[in-house]
């Protein structure tokens, strides 16, 4: 019998928000607004301050996966020379751009006027992906280069990195003035950053931290779903209202002792992710009374605000402090801490095909986390969006075996 998991009502509000937002995007030209495609960690507030509308190609690929067209789009990029070994997000989005007006994408993102990519996830592919898109559309691409702070990085390295990022942000502000032929609007920037910061705090407390409750009122699925407004709309007051509403809803669940999974018995952690499979994975786990309460992915986004009276400094700090920008030991410690703080019984650790910055050290990380916490993990290979590299049957068998393991541990 198919398990039905209780949904948060905010999802309905979100649907409406995004319907309106995509409408705005598709009529951007008529309304004289510019569209920018940006990477997940980019300081999009700078663009919002200058009234750009934002599109996240990563999120676009996830949307294509949810609509079941990602694999076909990946194949289009492969026919144009892009290797199957590249990350699925990239292949899918490039495939869509290569198809132009004929794209299979359900949302058909409007052609960008500008692209902005930030490197603070030590991911080269996202750079090259954006570079390839900017070549296909023949539009300018700006890169904010955020130096990786590895396990040997010193305070001096960190402060140099900070200065370097600040300098680039200033260069980008100059560029934006030239590009839009308008003075940069610092007042509006402060508003945008204020909204983003308030939205983040509500998301963090209301959603992310709420999962520490037993039973957890939310699952990773909720975490991902409700990340959408944080990406697209965080500069706007609507985002603050949205997350306030969501927080109230979650508080209500906590007060009623209502869990995201009825009869929660095991609490799981998702290290890495496979967008297209999260709903089915969540249901599969729920059939064993297990809730995937949290994961690493949302924490990789550093959306935390800072001192908005010093916007450049705050944005630069936020960029270099992303967990993805930090060395392996920092990441191992972060996972181990989350596992303890969220009372986790088991870790699901998919290796994502082609995704080096998240998956290539999964084995090392999981071994170390198990040493530190004693919590077992399950690894399997999958792809962000490409169904050719995911086997439901195999994952089902592996999850079943893993749940039996957890059961045996619980009996002991």
């Amino acid at each position: 019998m198919e398990i039905k998991l209780p949904r948060l009502k905010s999802q309905i509000i979100q649907r409406q928000l995004f319907t309106d937002y995509w409408q705005e995007l598709h009529t951007a030209k008529e309304s004289g607004k510019k569209v920018a495609w940006v990477s997940g960690m980019s300081p999009s507030e700078l663009l919002s301050a200058m009234d750009f509308l934002i599109v996240y190609p990563m999120n676009h690929s996830a949307t294509c996966a949810a609509a079941g067209v990602a694999t076909s789009l990946c194949e289009i990029s492969e026919q144009n020379g892009f290797s199957q070994d590249l990350c699925g997000y990239q292949r899918c989005d490039i495939g869509s751009a290569l198809m132009g007006d004929q794209t299979l994408s359900p949302v058909r993102p409007p052609k960008p006027d500008l692209m902005l990519v930030t490197s603070n996830q030590q991911c080269h592919q996202i750079f090259k992906w954006f570079e390839n898109i900017s070549r296909i559309y023949d539009i300018p691409l700006v890169m904010i280069d955020v130096p990786f702070l590895d396990d040997t990085a010193t305070e001096e390295d960190e402060s140099r990195a900070l200065e370097y990022v600040k300098e680039q942000l200033r260069e980008f502000i100059d560029f934006l003035e030239g590009f839009t032929k308008r003075r940069f609007n610092f007042d509006h920037l402060q508003e945008c950053m204020g909204n983003a910061s308030a939205a983040y705090d509500l998301w963090y407390e209301g959603l992310f931290n709420a999962a520490k409750n037993i039973p957890s009122p939310i699952s990773t699925f909720d975490l991902f779903i409700h990340l959408g407004p944080m990406l697209y709309l965080r500069s706007r007051p609507e985002a603050v209202d949205y997350y306030q509403n969501l927080k109230n809803e979650v508080i209500d669940r906590i007060a009623k002792g209502q869990g995201a999974v009825p009869n929660e018995r095991y609490r799981l952690f998702l290290n890495g992710m496979n967008w297209m499979k999260i709903p089915s994975l969540a249901k599969l786990c729920a059939s064993y009374n297990a809730c995937m309460v949290t994961g690493i992915y949302p924490l990789l986004f550093t959306l935390k605000g800072g001192d908005i009276s010093r916007p450049v400094e705050a944005m630069a700090k936020s960029a270099i402090n992303s967990l993805l920008n930090r060395g392996l030991q920092t990441r191992i410690n972060a996972v181990a801490n989350l596992v303890r703080d969220f009372s986790i019984d088991g870790i699901i650790a998919p290796t994502i095909r082609g995704c080096k910055p998240i998956s290539s050290f999964q084995l090392e990380t999981m071994r170390e986390v198990e040493k530190l916490t004693g919590i077992p993990n399950l690894e399997f290979e999958t792809c962000m969006v490409d169904t050719r590299y995911h086997s439901d049957a195999q994952v089902e068998v592996r999850i079943q075996a893993f749940m039996e393991l957890l059961e045996n541990r619980a009996i002991k």
Binding site: N80, G81, F82, S83, D85, L86, C87, S119, Q122, C123, H124, Q125, F127, K128, W129, E131, N132, R135, L141, M143, D145, P147, F148, D150, D151, T152, D157, R160, A161, Y164, E167, Q168, E171, G327, L328, Q329, T351, R353, G354, C355, K356, P357, S359, S360, F361, Q362, L363, E364, R367, E381
Partner: protein
């Protein structure tokens, strides 16, 4: 010619045993340089021997437990195995550059398992388009210099660094002479021979390499033009971070001559010289900035495509073989741009993927078909 080539070929074959022996009698330090883009001159100027870590062909037992084998290229896995199996314990230090996504991760894994006196990751700017990114190059080179000085408890003087730059420049000039001979006397030197000569220079003192190269060049320059030689002339490009001997052998076995190359263990190593008249660290930074286009930097793919296309035109080659190491995302991502440019310029090209075991039978057949097609044209 085999005798003259022997020392170059031997340098790689017994590398770690030879180094172990050498260490017994020398107090000099040995520094492993993970490919690519390490300014070896600074290591050399510190009186240490820089050795490029180019993997190995033994069994991989431990590395795959830490680095995902379905994501990491063979060079990364092989070098990590050398770290794990103790082969690299003879090193005094290791230096990495964040050329691709996995190298910084490799560096952090390495750090957890090995305890060499020096462990240094250079974090280079990802593009060179702005004043701030360009100034970060010299900043990173100074940072490396400071790390080496700390290890040695001794400053590296400008004089020593300039001397090392001079020795490295001489090496590059000699290698260029070797390439000119290969081009003008096709059939005299095989592509794998040339690769062995270049690679050996990454594994021994440059002074020794210059001496050996000088002797080889004298012989080669006196040698007559072989009476018969292959008709099809090719440019081979890519194979980042390591050799591609099996691909080069397959190309030659299929009856083509490699006219020039754009290989990591080839002309990419020697094409740019360092200015000997300015501040030495600044000069090395300038070399890095003005070096041949690289997939490790962004916004370089178009320039790289132009560079390869020009190389074909200038050398009079008939086509290009692009060698991409499996799972090398930086190269795979630039490939469509290069392929489009070459196609637009009417230059035939073939992409071949190399793996740990070299190239597959299927790819050998593709090379043969490609060369046969060029022969007919």
């Amino acid at each position: 010619m085999r005798d003259e080539l022997r020392p170059f070929i031997a340098a790689r074959q017994n590398l770690y045993n030879d180094l172990k022996q050498w260490k017994k009698t020398s107090d000099k330090k040995i520094i492993g340089c993970h490919p690519m883009d390490i300014p070896e001159e600074i290591v050399h100027a510190a009186g240490m021997l820089p050795i490029t870590l180019m993997g190995y062909d033994g069994v991989i037992k431990h590395a795959t437990g830490s680095l995902q084998p379905t994501i990491a290229c063979n060079i990364l896995l092989e070098n990590l195995e050398l770290c794990f199996n103790g082969t690299l314990d003879l090193l005094d230090g290791v230096i990495f550059t964040d050329v691709c996504d996995t190298i910084p991760i490799l560096s952090d894994i390495w750090l957890r398992h090995s305890h060499l006196a020096l462990h240094h990751l250079m974090v280079m700017p990802k593009h060179l388009n702005s004043p701030s990114s360009r100034s970060r190059v010299s900043e990173q080179f100074f940072r490396l210099k400071a790390s080496l000085e700390k290890l040695n408890k001794k400053k590296i003087s400008d004089r020593d660094l300039k001397r090392s730059i001079g020795i490295y420049n001489q090496n590059r000039r000699l290698l260029k002479r070797l390439y000119n001979i290969r081009r003008s006397k096709p059939g005299l030197l095989g592509a794998s021979d040339v690769s062995a000569v270049v690679t050996s220079g990454m594994l021994m003192w440059k002074e020794d390499h210059n001496r050996l190269l000088g002797q080889l060049l004298l012989k080669l320059e006196k040698s007559p033009l072989p009476s018969s030689y292959p008709k099809v002339r090719l440019i081979v490009t890519g194979s980042l971070c390591g050799c591609c001997d099996s691909a080069l052998s397959a190309i030659e076995a299929s009856g083509a001559h490699v006219q020039w190359d754009d290989l990591y263990t080839g002309s990419r190593y020697f094409t740019s010289l360092t200015n000997e008249d300015i501040d030495p660290v600044e000069a090395l930074a300038q070399r890095y900035i003005n070096d041949v286009p690289s997939p490790a930097r962004f916004f370089d793919a178009d320039a790289w495509a132009d560079y390869i296309s020009n190389m074909v035109i200038c050398s009079g080659a008939d086509g290009v073989i692009i060698i991409i190491r499996k799972f090398c995302e930086i190269h795979a991502d630039d490939f469509p741009c290069i392929q489009n440019k070459l196609t637009k310029d009417g230059i035939p090209c073939l992409m071949i993927e190399t793996e740990r075991a070299g190239i597959s039978e299927h790819n050998k057949a593709r090379i043969q078909t490609f060369i046969n097609m060029l022969e007919r044209e």
